[in-house]
C-alpha cells in the first residue's frame, strides 16, 4: 500500500512541479517529505522533544494548525485574500512566534457564484476564521503562529487521488475555479476536521472548558461536512435528473479523495477508526426509496469516525511515510509537537 501511495504521490509531485513553475523550493519540500521519507529539516526551529503526555495546549495548538489551513482556504475562496496579519502571529511563549508564508498558488475568489453560493462561502469562511480567533484567544501566549501553508497542494493531491482532467471536465483540478471544484476542495478538509476533533476530544484533561469547546467545534465541522456532502449529492441528483441526464463528475472525484484519505489513514493500529473503514463514500440515490450517504459514520452503529493526530498529519502532509515532518499543505510542517509522524 505504501509503495502504491508513493507512486501516486510521485506522480502528483511531478504534476505539481509542472504546475508550480517557479515554486521549485516548495515542490522540493514535498518531495523530501513525501517520497523519500528522510528527515527534511524545516527552516523553523524544531521545538523540544515530544513530552510523554501532551498537554491540552498541545492538542489545541494542533487544532489551531488545522484551523489556519481551513480558514485560509475558505477565506481565499470567498474573498480572494486570507487571514489578517493580526490573526496569524504566535504568542510569546508558544515557541512559534513568526508566521510562516502562505503559498497561494491559484487561490482566488471562486468566480461565477450565485449570490446564494457566495453567502454560503462567506459563512464557512467566517466560521473557520472564528475558530482560529477562538483558539488563539483560548491559548493566549501559548498560541502558535500560522505555519507555512501551501494552497497549491490541491493539484498534486487531486492527482494522487486519481482525479484526472477527464474526470472533472476541462482543465486541471483547481478548487478555486468553480463552485463544483470548490465543493471537492472543501470535501478534502471537512470530514477530516470532524475526525480530528473526535479523536482529540477525549484526550483533553480539562473537561469544564476545553472539552466542551472542542465538542462544540466538532459539531460545527460536522455541520460544514453535512453541507458539503449535501451539496455534492444534491447537485449530482439534479444533473442526473436533468433532461437529458448528465453526469456529475464531482461526486466521483470526492469519492476518490475519500479513498486517498483512507489510504493515508495509517499508523496507530489501536485507534478506533483503523479497525474498519474511516470513510463513507457518497452515493447517487436513484429513487425516493434509496438512501443517500450524507453522513460519514461507521455502518454498524452510525457513529462518526475518529482519527489520531498521526493519521491527520499523514493526510495533510499527503504522505503515508512514518517520520515525515512536513509536506503537502504544510511545507514546513505544522507548528506542533505532533509535527513529525511517529506511527
Amino acid at each position: 500500500m505504501e509503495k502504491k501511495l508513493t507512486t501516486l504521490i510521485d506522480k502528483a509531485l511531478s504534476r505539481r512541479s509542472f504546475l508550480a513553475g517557479s515554486s521549485t523550493l516548495a515542490a522540493a519540500t514535498v518531495i523530501a517529505g513525501c517520497s523519500s521519507g528522510t528527515d527534511y529539516v524545516p527552516p523553523t526551529p524544531t521545538p523540544t522533544p515530544t513530552p510523554t503526555t501532551p498537554t491540552d495546549a498541545d492538542y489545541l495548538n494542533y487544532a489551531l494548525n488545522l484551523e489556519y489551513l481551513e480558514a485560509q482556504f475558505y477565506l481565499y475562496a470567498a474573498t480572494g485574500s486570507g487571514l489578517a496579519a493580526a490573526d496569524i502571529a504566535g504568542g510569546a511563549s508558544s515557541g512559534y512566534t513568526t508566521p510562516g508564508t502562505l503559498t497561494a498558488g491559484s487561490a482566488a475568489q471562486v468566480p461565477n457564484l450565485t449570490p446564494a453560493q457566495q453567502q454560503i462561502l462567506n459563512e464557512i469562511a467566517y466560521e473557520e476564521q472564528s475558530h482560529v480567533r477562538f483558539l488563539r484567544s483560548a491559548l493566549g501566549a501559548s498560541a502558535v503562529a500560522m505555519p507555512s501553508i501551501d494552497l497549491s497542494f490541491f493539484g498534486p493531491l487531486a492527482v494522487a487521488a486519481g482525479i484526472t482532467t477527464a474526470a472533472t471536465g476541462t482543465g486541471s483540478f483547481n478548487p478555486f475555479s468553480s463552485f463544483d471544484y470548490f465543493l471537492v476542495g472543501a470535501f478534502i478538509f471537512e470530514d477530516v476536521g470532524v475526525t480530528a476533533y473526535s479523536g482529540a476530544a477525549g484526550l483533553l484533561t480539562d473537561k469544564t472548558v476545553n472539552l466542551p469547546a472542542a465538542a462544540g467545534i466538532l459539531a460545527v465541522e460536522a455541520y460544514h461536512a453535512g453541507y458539503i456532502r449535501t451539496s455534492l449529492t444534491g447537485r449530482a441528483i439534479a444533473a442526473a435528473g436533468a433532461s437529458p441526464a448528465t453526469a456529475y463528475p464531482y461526486l466521483a472525484a470526492a469519492n476518490q479523495v475519500a479513498a486517498l484519505r483512507a489510504t493515508l489513514t495509517v499508523g496507530d493500529s489501536a485507534a478506533p477508526s483503523t479497525t474498519g473503514s474511516v470513510e463513507t463514500d457518497l452515493i447517487l440515490p436513484t429513487s425516493v426509496r434509496t438512501a443517500s450517504a450524507i453522513v460519514a459514520a461507521d455502518p454498524t452503529h452510525a457513529v462518526g469516525f475518529a482519527r489520531t493526530v498521526n493519521q491527520v498529519h499523514h493526510i495533510v502532509y499527503g504522505s503515508a511515510t512514518v517520520g515525515v515532518k512536513s509536506g503537502g499543505f504544510f511545507p514546513s510542517g505544522t507548528n506542533s509537537i505532533f509535527a513529525t509522524t511517529t506511527a
Partner: protein, 346 residues
C-alpha cells in the same frame, strides 16, 4: 460495551457536579435540585451513568420513529416492505424500565424529489442504529422502554406555539418541504443534547462514542438546514419557519436554565434559524452570510444544553414551572414524559 457506557455516565455525573459547583451557592439555591452546601448539593445530583444514556435513548426513540414513519410509514418496531428494502434495522423494543407506550400519529410522506426522499431514508436508518446501539449498550434490564410518543398532534401544537402560518393544521408528513420542517425541529436539539452530555464523560472510549454520535447529529442538522436553504434561499417559505422554530426553542431553552445566570451554558438566544447575518472576513468589511450552522455567532462553537433545557423543548415547556423544574416533564412529543430510572429526569 456496558462497562464503557457505565464509565461514561459516571463521568457525566462528575462533570455535572462540577458545573453546579461553579454556579455558586446562591445560584444553586435557585435550582430545584440544589442545596446551598457543596456536600448536600453533590448528593442531590442523583443521575447515574445509566440515566444519562437513557436520556439519550428517549431522544433517539423520538427521532427514529419520526424518520421511520416519514420514510417508510411504519414505526421502528414493525417492518414493512419499504423499511426492509432500505435495510433499516428492525428494532426489538427490549427496554423494560418505565412504562412502555405507543407511538401515535405519523404517516409516510409522499416524497416528490429524490433529494429529500433519499435523505429521509438515510436518516431513518442512522437514527435506528443509534437506538440499537444504546439498547445493546444498556441491556434490557437497564434500558428504558419506549415511552408514549406523539408524532401527530404534537407538531400542530408546536407549530402553533412557534406562530408558523397555518400552524394549527401543520403536518410534517404532507410534502417534502413540511417533512424538512419537522426534521428541523429535532436535529439541532440533538446536537445540543449530546454536546451538553459529552463533556461529562470521563472515559475516553465512551466519550469517543458520544462525540461520534454528536458528529452524526450535526451532519443531519447540516443536511436539513442546507436543503431548506436550497429550496427557499430567499426565506419566504419554509426557511422563514426555521427562524420561528429556533426562536421558540431558544425561549424554551432559556426557561430551562431556571432563572440561573448561565455558567457553562449559553445565554439567550441559543438557537438561530436560517436568516442571514453580516460578518467581516479577513480585511474585508461586512458581507452577508447564510446560517447553515447553528452556533454561537461570537465564537462559532455549537450550543450546549442541559437536560432541563432539552426536556423543556421536547415537552413544549412542560419541564419548568416558574423557577422550578417539573418531573416528570410531560407534553408535546412525550405526553406521559420520558421513561426514566428511579431518579427521573429534570
Amino acid at each position: 460495551m456496558a462497562n464503557q457506557e457505565t464509565q461514561l455516565l459516571d463521568e457525566i455525573i462528575v462533570t455535572n457536579r462540577r458545573k453546579m459547583l461553579t454556579l455558586g451557592a446562591s445560584s444553586l439555591a435557585a435550582l430545584v435540585l440544589g442545596a446551598s452546601s457543596t456536600k448536600a448539593e453533590a448528593a442531590t445530583v442523583a443521575y447515574t451513568d445509566t440515566d444519562i444514556l437513557n436520556f439519550a435513548l428517549n431522544l433517539e426513540y423520538l427521532e427514529a420513529n419520526y424518520y421511520y414513519l416519514a420514510a417508510f410509514g411504519t414505526t421502528i418496531d414493525v417492518a414493512n416492505a419499504a423499511s426492509t428494502a432500505a435495510n433499516a434495522p428492525l428494532i426489538s423494543l427490549t427496554g423494560t424500565v418505565g412504562t412502555a407506550g405507543t407511538v401515535s400519529g405519523g404517516s409516510a410522506v409522499p416524497f416528490s424529489t429524490i433529494t429529500v426522499g433519499s435523505y429521509a431514508v438515510e436518516t431513518a436508518v442512522e437514527e435506528g442504529k443509534h437506538v440499537q446501539l444504546l439498547l445493546s449498550a444498556l441491556g434490557p434490564t437497564v434500558a428504558v422502554a419506549q415511552p408514549a410518543i406523539n408524532l401527530g398532534t404534537s407538531f400542530q401544537t408546536l407549530a402553533t406555539a412557534a406562530q408558523i402560518p397555518g400552524g394549527a393544521a401543520f403536518s410534517p408528513y404532507a410534502s417534502d418541504e413540511t417533512f424538512l420542517v419537522g426534521a428541523y425541529v429535532f436535529e439541532d436539539v440533538g446536537v445540543t443534547a449530546y454536546h451538553g452530555a459529552a463533556p461529562l464523560l470521563t472515559s475516553a472510549a465512551n466519550l469517543g462514542t458520544a462525540a461520534g454520535i454528536l458528529a452524526v447529529e450535526a451532519y443531519h442538522a447540516g443536511l436539513i438546514r442546507t436543503t431548506i436553504n436550497y429550496l427557499d434561499p430567499t426565506a419566504t417559505g419554509i426557511a422563514s419557519y426555521t427562524n420561528l422554530i429556533s426562536t421558540l426553542r431558544a425561549t424554551l431553552s432559556q426557561a430551562g436554565l431556571l432563572g440561573v445566570a448561565p455558567g457553562t451554558f449559553d445565554p439567550a438566544p441559543d438557537d438561530y434559524g436560517l436568516a442571514t447575518f453580516n460578518v467581516s472576513l479577513g480585511a474585508s468589511a461586512n458581507v452577508t452570510a447564510t446560517r447553515l450552522t447553528d452556533a454561537n455567532p461570537a465564537n462559532v462553537v455549537a450550543f450546549s444544553r442541559n437536560t432541563t433545557q432539552v426536556l423543556n423543548i421536547v415537552t413544549g415547556g412542560g419541564a419548568v414551572s416558574g423557577t422550578t423544574a417539573v418531573s416528570p416533564a410531560t407534553g408535546v412529543f412525550f405526553p406521559n414524559g420520558m421513561n426514566a430510572g428511579p431518579n427521573g429526569f429534570r
